[in-house]
C-alpha cells in the first residue's frame, strides 16, 4: 500500500511537471529522430555510395568505354563527361565534383602494346614463335585520378579500387585476346573466344543469419533507435535525482524519515515508478522506429523475432538506469552537483558504450573500456536480438551484467540513504 501510494505520488508529481514530462518523453523522441536522420548518410556510405565523377576521355578508345560500362553497372559512380582536363581539375578543386578520371591520349593503345610485348616475351621464353619486333621499353601506364581534398578516405579508396579493378579486367581480357591472336597466327579458320571473366569467379556476399530474418542489417535506424533509447532511459536520472533532491531540500523527505518504516517504501516506490517510465520510454521509442522512421524516408526498425527476450533486455536496462539514477540522487547533496555529474556521466557512458558511434569503429583502448559501460551491454544485447536473432544464452552474460549493475547501485543507494537518515 505504501509503495503504491509512493508510485501514485510520483505519478502526480510528474504529470504536473511539464519540463520533466518533456525531458522524459518529448526530448528523447526528438533526439532519436534527429540522430537517425543525421547519421543516415554516414551509415549508407558503405552500401549506397553514389559519387559524381568527371571522365575526361582524351583517349577515346576501349579503356574509356570499359570504365563507362563498369561504373554504370556497379552503380556507385555517376560518370559525367568533360572534355577539358583543366576545367575538370578546377571543378574538382571547387568541390563541384568529388573526383575526375583523366584518360590521356593513347592510353588504350599503350596498354594494348604492353600486353602484346608481355605475351611475346612469354612465347619467346618457351621457345615458341613470337613477334618480338616491338621491344622498346613502354612506360607504366598511370591513370590520373584527381580528388576533392574534402572527400572521405573511404570514398577515395572505393574509387581507386574500382578503377584498378577495371584496368585489371581490361588487361586480363586483352592478354587473353593477344594470346589467342598469337596462337592463331597463320590459322585462318580458328575463331577467337570472347571470355566473360565475371563467370570465372565472383564474390557471393550473404548475411550470416539463416532464418526468415536473414538480410536484416545495420543501418541508421537499427543503430540509433536502441542506442538513443538507452541514452534516454539512463537520462531518467535527471528527473529522478532532481525530484529526490527537491524533496530533501523542501523538507518532505525529512517528514518521511520521521515516519516509521517509510524509507523502504519511498525508495522502492520511486524505483518502480521510474522503472515503469523507462519501459514506457522504450516502447515509445521502438514505436517511433517502426512507425515514424519510414515516414521520414528512413528504414523501418526491424526487431527480429524474440519479443520476450527484447522485453527482458529492456527491463534489465530500465533497472540498471533507474538504479544508477537513484544512486546519483542519494549520493549528491545538491541538485546542481547531482544533475551536472549525472548528465556528464551519462554522456560519457553513452559515448564509450557505442551510442554515438558503433564500438567497432572506436580505437582499441576505447573498445576495451566500453566493456564497462552498461549501455554497451544493453546495446550489444539489442543488436544481438534485432540483427542476429540471438538466443537467451547468447544475451545472458549481458543480462547478468545489467542486473548486477542494478543490484549494486540499488544496494549502495539504500545503504547511503539509510546512513544519512540517522546522523
Amino acid at each position: 500500500m505504501k509503495i503504491l501510494s509512493t508510485i501514485y505520488k510520483e505519478f502526480l508529481l510528474l504529470i504536473r511537471d511539464p519540463g520533466g514530462m518533456a525531458l522524459i518523453f518529448i526530448m528523447p523522441l526528438a533526439l532519436v529522430i534527429v540522430m537517425a536522420l543525421v547519421q543516415d548518410a554516414p551509415f549508407r556510405d558503405y552500401q549506397e555510395l553514389k559519387l559524381d565523377v568527371l571522365l575526361v576521355d582524351m583517349d577515346a578508345d576501349s579503356l574509356g568505354n570499359k570504365i563507362r560500362k563498369s561504373f554504370q553497372t556497379a552503380g556507385q559512380v555517376n560518370l559525367v563527361e568533360e572534355r577539358d582536363s583543366v576545367v575538370a581539375r578546377q571543378k574538382v578543386h571547387d568541390g563541384e565534383y568529388k573526383a575526375a578520371i583523366i584518360l590521356d591520349p593513347q592510353v588504350s593503345a599503350t596498354l594494348r602494346r604492353k600486353t602484346r610485348q608481355l605475351i611475346a616475351k612469354v612465347f619467346a621464353n618457351f621457345g615458341m614463335e613470337a613477334d618480338t619486333s616491338d621491344n622498346l621499353e613502354v612506360p607504366t601506364i598511370r591513370l590520373k585520378v584527381l580528388v576533392d581534398p574534402a572527400i572521405k578516405a573511404n570514398y577515395r579508396q572505393t574509387l581507386t579500387s574500382g578503377i584498378e579493378k577495371i584496368i585489371a579486367n581490361v588487361q586480363t581480357t586483352w592478354l587473353l585476346d593477344e594470346l589467342q591472336d598469337q596462337l592463331s597466327e597463320g590459322k585462318s579458320d580458328t575463331k577467337k573466344i570472347a571470355f566473360d571473366l565475371s563467370q570465372i569467379a565472383s564474390v557471393d556476399q550473404r548475411y550470416a543469419a539463416e532464418n526468415k530474418f536473414a538480410g536484416l542489417m545495420m543501418n541508421s535506424v537499427q543503430h540509433n533507435v536502441p542506442a538513443w533509447t538507452m541514452f534516454a532511459m539512463f537520462f531518467i536520472l535527471y528527473p529522478l535525482a532532481g525530484n529526490f533532491i527537491n524533496e530533501r531540500e523542501e523538507g518532505s523527505m525529512l517528514r518521511l524519515r520521521l515516519i516509521a518504516g517509510s524509507q523502504f517504501a519511498v525508495i522502492t516506490g520511486k524505483f518502480l515508478f521510474y522503472f515503469i517510465i523507462c519501459l514506457l520510454q522504450f516502447v515509445m521509442m521502438i514505436a517511433v522506429g517502426i512507425f515514424v522512421m519510414p515516414l521520414l524516408g528512413l528504414e523501418q526498425l526491424a526487431l527480429g523475432g524474440a519479443s520476450t527476450l527484447i522485453l527482458l533486455t529492456a527491463c534489465c536496462v530500465a533497472m540498471a538506469a533507474t538504479g544508477y539514477g537513484t544512486l546519483i540522487a542519494v549520493y549528491f547533496k545538491t541538485a546542481q552537483q547531482a544533475l551536472s555529474f549525472g548528465s556528464v556521466s551519462v554522456v560519457i557512458l553513452s559515448a564509450i558504450g557505442g551510442v554515438w558511434v558503433p564500438i567497432y569503429v572506436m580505437p582499441e583502448i576505447l573498445q576495451n573500456i566500453s566493456r564497462f559501460s552498461p549501455m554497451s551491454w544493453g546495446l550489444e544485447s539489442f543488436n544481438d536480438l534485432f540483427l542476429r536473432q540471438a538466443s537467451f544464452g547468447a544475451i545472458l552474460p549481458n543480462i547478468l551484467r545489467l542486473l548486477g549493475f542494478a543490484l549494486v547501485t540499488l544496494t549502495a543507494s539504500v545503504l547511503i540513504h539509510n546512513s544519512r537518515t540517522v546522523s
Binding site: 505504501k2 501510494s5 508529481l13 523542501e250 523538507g251 518532505s252 520521521l258 516509521a260 540517522v422
Partner: protein, 247 residues
C-alpha cells in the same frame, strides 16, 4: 510517567567540533505542553532530532513514551508526530493529496484516512482549498497543513518546531487554539519556538537551553517563581541566555 526522559545527553557534530548538546538531562511529564526554548544554535533542533531517532547521541539515553529511542526508533516514530520548521509538503500536490500520501505512509487507508483528512481540513479551515495545489497557498495555510500532516495518525506525542513561523495573526490564533484543545485532551506536546508569548499562553512546562546545556526547567510557574525579578517569559529568557546575538 514521563513522556520524555533524557539522561546525560551529549552530541558533538564532527563538522563544528563544538558540542551541540552537552550533558542534558530532562524529564517531561505525560500530558504536558513543554516549551523547548533557547536562542538560535542553542541545541533545540539537535535535541528534537535525538528524540525522533534521526540523530544518534554520543552519550546518554533517550526514552520516549518509555521506549529506548536508540534501540527502537521505529516504535517511537509510530507514536510521535513531528511538524518540522520547514514546510515539509509537496508543493505541486493538492492539500488532500499531500495528506492522503502522508496518511498512507503512516499506515492509514480507506474511510479512516478520508474521515481524518476531512475533519482536520475542516478544523483548520482548509476544506474549501483541499483541491488546490500547495504552492498556491499562503504561508499561514501551508503552516496549518504542515501541522495536520503531523497529526493524522493521532500520535501520543506531538513535536512542533516553530509551528507559527511566518503566519498571520488569524492563522496563529487558529493553531494555538487547536493546540490548547489537544492539551485538554491530554496529548503531550513539545513546542519549540522563539515566540515567547505563545509559549507563555499554551505551555504548562518549559525548558530553556543555551549552548547545549539546560539552564532552566520545570513548570512555567515554578521557573518564573525562581526569578521574581522577571515580569514575563521574555525577561526571564534574556536573563538566562543573555542579550548577545548568537548567529
Amino acid at each position: 510517567m514521563n513522556v520524555v526522559q533524557l539522561e546525560h545527553l551529549s552530541k558533538t557534530y564532527l563538522k563544528t567540533g563544538k558540542p551541540a548538546v552537552s550533558d542534558l538531562s530532562l524529564n517531561i511529564p505525560m500530558g504536558a505542553v513543554f516549551g523547548l526554548l533557547g536562542p538560535n544554535g542553542a541545541g533545540k533542533s539537535t535535541t528534537v532530532m535525538m528524540l525522533c531517532g534521526l540523530t544518534r547521541p554520543d552519550q546518554g539515553t533517550v526514552h520516549v513514551l518509555g521506549i529506548d529511542v536508540r534501540a527502537h526508533a521505529n516504535e517511537v516514530r509510530k507514536k510521535i508526530g513531528v511538524a518540522p520548521q520547514e514546510i515539509a509538503l509537496f508543493p505541486t500536490l493538492t492539500a488532500r493529496e499531500n495528506l492522503r500520501y502522508f496518511g498512507s505512509m503512516y499506515g492509514l487507508s480507506g474511510s479512516v484516512l478520508k474521515t481524518r483528512i476531512d475533519q482536520f481540513l475542516d478544523v483548520f479551515g482548509l476544506s474549501e482549498k483541499a483541491g488546490k495545489q500547495v504552492h498556491t497557498f499562503s504561508g499561514g495555510m501551508k503552516r496549518r497543513l504542515n501541522l495536520i500532516a503531523a497529526l493524522l495518525h493521532e500520535p501520543d506525542l506531538v513535536i512542533l518546531d516553530e509551528p507559527t513561523a511566518g503566519v498571520d495573526v488569524q492563522s496563529r490564533n487558529m493553531i494555538l487554539s487547536f493546540l490548547e484543545q489537544l492539551k485538554k485532551k491530554g496529548t503531550s506536546i513539545i513546542y519549540s519556538s522563539h515566540v515567547l508569548e505563545e509559549a507563555e499562553r499554551i505551555c504548562s512546562h518549559i525548558g530553556v537551553v543555551d549552548e547545549g546545556k539546560l539552564v532552566a526547567a520545570g513548570t512555567l510557574e515554578s521557573v518564573m517563581g525562581q526569578h521574581p525579578d522577571c515580569s514575563n517569559l521574555e525577561h526571564l529568557f534574556l536573563k538566562l541566555t543573555g542579550k548577545n546575538i548568537r548567529d
